[in-house]
Assembly symmetry: C2
Homo-oligomer: 541 residues x 2
């Protein structure tokens, strides 16, 4: 006797319960010759459904569709994630359907409520272990966070299970794949059983799911890993002792800092945001700088060149080489490229504002005005052609507020929002190793916002390697001034950077969402008050 | 023997730990002749501190200042709320200090994690009852949500307490005061003890705290209620049986729908957002319509006329009476008033965009362009004079997306964000009963965005009373299409409205924050995905 299992690593659409179910049933029907097909966490409704969970109509539609899935399980076992409503409470559940019956239902016990997760807002924690007897085997069942905590795992340790199956919606960050794999290996050895780990793929607002579902033997060796960032099905056979029967070479562990994966995550995030939200394509401002250059390359890789429009919007501070480089990149990538000078609009605003500006000196007002003229142009093109505006601000800029609200921040999706500037350079070089897409000079010239004569970013900011290191310490590691200074950073610089981060929360609150790539992104993962006296006053070390 | 207690209903500043502490110690010193002074929940750091709680430097500063507060308790008992860090966990705590010692510490047991609350993100629930023996009395102690749930109250029922003291940070909504008072009366009767209920006041981002601290006798009668929306201290003496000694007439219950309170909430929200964030004043676009008219009146009431600037930005669709009415209101309120035509900027944009608009018909692009020219003007004035732009969108508009991103939505604080249009009319009329501030014609003429010739809101939206009723059902009560239709609303209208709500989540996500007034505001209280298939497809009833 053997067991034949299909891992279904798919891209679900949050809220499209009927569409997801149609695809689930088709997959079940196509795989009826296997013993079992395993879908990911909350596959029926997509993850995370957020406050849709509180709606009666959402509940009704989920329950109706789940019944259809149960019906489809006549010949093949089906493991699937879905919400369960019971009286006043909601569970994050796993059902095991077979022969049209629910032979086991498990409710997630460990509900993540940190970082980007709000599961305790929605769900009540289950209290029962997940066990099912299927075709003579005793299988343990867990859902995502359960595997990361000790309690649900220890609960199964005494249950004499022969295999552990865990369904997941585990979002990507650049260190996650390694952590997951180490954890799974540890759990397999701890329980002395093979583990089937199924994760979803896809972009959902600020989250990207990388998949990388896998099968791990009882010895902790990964014997099969599904593609990162792509939908994939894998059929895995187990012998009568539930030892996985795979002759392929052992998959290698993902690299600790994998530029190709980060790039793929960004591409998938753009693709899914644009297509799931029904946009005809995207438009972006191409400045001749590296952020917009990288964003353009990602957009083309995500959507194809015909759905991408680049617009250069020069002003008197725009260098000739900026126009030339933007033009060259557009040609390299084959996208529509337009040049629209903002001078007439800028002059019209200044003329109309002049009575109110009497007696004042030029300051950032005039710089912001340039950026805002550009924002208005892009939004007009977006409106007219139903194309999403991609914004191009990187994480370093978003951190210190080096961006103009309603100007370069105008747009629906900020591709590089969680990418520090130093990574932007690395990703640009990486992209050029695949094909020459970003003119070399765009990568090598000193960054400038070109909002004032001879302006360079480093006139007002520390050099990016230092800035990014301080930001990483402050934002991702939540270090204090004291801790950062003790790492060797100059105290006035640290204080200046931190103050900029603190006082620019209001800008970030109105910024476009963008894909989470690091341990702590600006978005659901970081919830700071706008109104705060914490950073306003000096305090001693 | 008697007990003399001071209720300290104050406005704390989130994150300004040293500033709050200085005020706390001054209040203690000023009230040393009383037995006890009671401060509100998390008074030391302000509520809610959000992710600041995860910072080591925040912890160190809280712990340092809390020690100073303990020291100040030499002659008078002090009850105060603060976070407690213990190893890996954080509690939301109450300390009772007396004679420099902590004589009781209680950790909140019921952590709200619904609506605008995220307390399970931060805190671990306490498990011990809160009891202290003070001057021969046995007092029960609770923190906010504890009082609303049965478990912590039942825990005290068998403890033979003589009084219950509860510290709170209970945000305002227009129904909350009634609910709170009914609950407190019920608990007093349930436990047969008087209750001291201390709440904070103040605006903190999207939350407004109304105070209305009170003392309730064991019979459930409120004997003392502090002012709504104002800082206030009350001294209450209790006799040897802890019966409150008050000769004042019984306070009346707040009205179920109190326009004066709603108006005060908006005024306080604006005042605190502007002053706590250090702005020099505010600027707003005054269109001659009722939303900006009401917003202007609120701003003047919050900040005084000298800190408020109104700008009329006419275009060819602006009616003469709009300019006249805006001018009249500015004169009535005595604020700076400027007129800046957007025609030259609009024409410059259209001219520059014309090569890309060849072959296309005018559509909402041109309407949005007008709104965005206005947004850019206001932001330039904001930049130049360090004044916050107030936006004027009401809840009905925010719900259905009847607003332009980066246009009329440009700004830092949206005063009417949680006020349905039908309430806007009521609030305008209410404001005029205090003094004539809003020209009558602004209230009586049909609402129009004036972005196209002869445009009226009701050309594209259902009449506001119907729209607001549907929106209330869908957003606040989370009713389905089916439920709304069964209430008598026209199905195509319901579907149209709901679809507009669903597809405009992306706009709201980038909107300015605004004060929560209803049971469900757009902000932390409502977390819907942008990317969602839920409303995109038709489904049967």
């Amino acid at each position: 006797m053997t067991l034949s299992v299909v891992l279904a690593q798919k891209n679900w659409y949050v809220g499209d319960i009927e569409g997801n179910t149609a695809r689930i049933i088709q997959l079940i029907n196509n795989n009826q010759h296997h013993d079992l097909i395993v879908f990911s966490e909350l596959a029926v409704c997509g993850y995370p459904p957020e406050d849709l969970l509180f709606r009666d109509d959402f509940r009704e539609r989920c329950e109706t569709q789940l019944a259809h899935i149960a019906q489809a399980s006549q010949h093949c076992g089906v493991i699937i994630g879905h919400p369960t409503w019971q009286g006043e409470v909601i569970y994050n559940s796993l059902s095991f359907f077979y022969q049209g019956q629910c032979i086991a239902r498990y409710h997630k016990q460990q509900l993540p409520n940190y970082d980007v997760f709000d599961e305790k807002r929605y769900f009540t924690a289950g209290r029962q272990r997940g066990i099912v007897n299927f075709k003579g085997y005793r299988l343990g069942l867990l859902i995502c966070e359960d595997l990361w905590q000790t309690q649900p795992v220890e609960q199964l340790a005494s249950e004499d299970i022969q295999m552990l199956i865990t369904i997941n919606a585990s979002p990507y960050d650049y260190q996650k794949a390694q952590q997951r794999q180490q954890l799974i290996a540890k759990r397999a050895k701890q329980l002395h059983v093979p583990i089937i780990y199924v994760n979803q793929v896809g972009g959902q607002d600020e989250l990207v799911f990388d998949g990388q579902s896998l099968v791990c033997g009882a010895d902790g060796q990964v014997v099969c890993r599904l593609d990162a960032f792509n939908e994939s099905l894998a059929e895995v056979n187990f012998d009568q002792h539930l030892k996985p029967l795979i002759n392929a070479p052992l998959p290698t562990l993902p690299a600790p800092f994998d530029l190709a994966h980060i790039y793929q995550a960004l591409v998938l995030a753009v693709k899914d945001y644009v297509t799931k939200n029904g946009f005809q394509g995207v438009v972006l401002g191409l400045s001749g700088g590296i952020d917009s250059a990288l964003t353009l390359a990602i957009a083309v890789d995500a959507l194809g060149k015909d759905k991408v429009q680049a617009v250069m919007m020069p002003f008197k501070y725009t260098a000739d080489i900026s126009i030339a480089d933007a033009q060259q990149q557009a040609t390299l990538l084959g996208v529509e490229f337009d040049i629209i000078s903002i001078e007439p609009m800028f002059e019209a605003f200044m003329q109309q504002l002049s009575p109110l500006f009497i007696g004042s000196q030029p300051d950032t007002t005039e710089e912001n005005l340039q950026a805002r003229c550009r924002g208005v142009v892009l939004m007009a093109l977006s409106n007219k052609r139903h194309r999403l505006v991609l914004t191009t601000g990187n994480k370093s800029e978003m951190s210190v507020g080096y961006a103009t609200l309603y100007g370069d921040m105008a747009g629906g999706f900020d591709v590089l929002k969680d990418i520090p500037k130093t990574w932007v350079f690395e990703l640009a070089r990486y992209r050029n190793t695949r094909s020459y897409a970003i003119p070399e000079r765009v990568i090598t010239r000193p960054p400038s916002a070109e909002l004032a004569p001879e302006q360079k970013d480093e006139d007002s900011l520390p050099p990016y390697p230092i800035l990014d290191a301080i930001l990483r310490g402050y934002i991702e590691e939540q270090l204090s001034v004291k801790a950062l200074v003790s790492q060797g950073y100059d105290e006035p610089t640290v204080r200046k950077v931190i103050k900029l981060v603190d006082i620019n929360e209001y800008k970030r609150r109105q910024s476009a969402i963008g894909p989470k790539i690091t341990m702590c992104n600006f978005g659901k993962g970081r919830r700071y008050p706008i109104t705060s006296g914490f950073g306003r006053k000096n305090w001693s070390l």
